[in-house]
Amino acid sequence: MRKVDRIQGQFQILNQHDPALSGNGETLALIVDYNGRPTLQLRDLRNGKIIPLRHLSRNQPHSSPSLSWNGRYIAVLAQPRNKRLVIIEDRLTGRSYQFPIPGERIPVRLSLSPDASQLALQIAEKGKWRIQLFDLSKKIERDMPRGARFSNNSSLED
């Protein structure tokens, strides 16, 4: 058994699930059920406060959030008007990107790489779970940890 410190949060009010931490461990994304509508919520773990989101307060139900290193990008699955989308909000510029899912595939879960250059999507297709990787490097800037640089093969160096 490991000794742990528990961070006391104000996370006890509603049903909440699908936690995702930013790479630096300072931001937590989770899904909170508001009146039966699964809605993305972002919290600053340093002070427990809710961080407002410009674009992701609509297009519910939300599921499977994922954050980049510094929490600059937040990706989530959304289902506005029965259309399934990946939505990524850039908290630095205030822009959001909507990625419709190609084909008849049903997205189930996602994971954003720490630098936001790739997205892994779990999809249901022909009765099987599959994972597909998508390249985001030409569409959005990378979110890198402070003081880090990238070598030419995309691996991270401290």
């Binding site: 490991r2 790479g23 674009h55 822009r95 999507l121 990787l133 991270l156």
Partner: protein
């Protein structure tokens, strides 16, 4: 001439109004990385619960009806050995990878126990994390250092999220 003037005016107002409504929202088509996907994932096998690190991906893979945790180096496109992690008597439920690929957090079902564990890849050790008060973990997320965990826990029929900071 007058009609042209009004049409131009109408379309400029329409453009300004549409830009305001969209509020910096772009719709972009995503293209799968076909070459990499074909190299990493077998079409006959079921993969779920992806978690990306800097250059690795971990997921739960179903081989012959049994789930196991698999880690792939996306640069070399090779499976990474995880000695001592996958056991015949347990079923993984959720997995998350630290950015440097050194630590994995996982939830697994073993007999009638649902366990939350940290796996250190370099030394091949598994360490159990106790939830206080007791609860049933369902999903886990790890930060880049592998020392902060966010866990979805079921207690008294309600889902909660708990953040745990590991010492060391």
């Amino acid at each position: 001439m007058k009609l042209n003037y009004y049409l131009k005016k109408y379309f400029s107002y329409y453009f300004i109004f549409s830009s305001f409504l969209l509020g910096g929202c772009s719709r972009i088509n995503m293209r799968p990385m076909y070459g990499l996907n074909d190299a990493l994932f077998q079409s006959s096998t079921s993969y779920r619960e992806p978690s990306l690190g800097n250059k690795w991906i971990v997921s739960l893979v179903n081989y012959q009806g049994k789930d196991k945790i698999e880690m792939i180096d996306m640069n070399s496109r090779k499976r990474v050995p995880l000695p001592g992690l996958n056991r015949a008597d347990s079923q993984p439920i959720s997995v998350s990878l630290s950015a440097n690929g050194e630590r994995l957090a996982l939830i697994r079902q073993r007999a009638d126990q649902t366990e939350l564990l940290i796996y250190r890849r370099r030394v091949g050790t598994l360490q159990r994390i106790e939830l206080i008060p007791k609860g049933i973990p369902r999903r886990v997320s790890l930060d880049s250092s592998g020392k902060v965990l966010a866990v979805q826990v079921s207690r008294e029929g309600k889902w909660d999220v708990e953040v745990i900071r590991l010492k060391g």
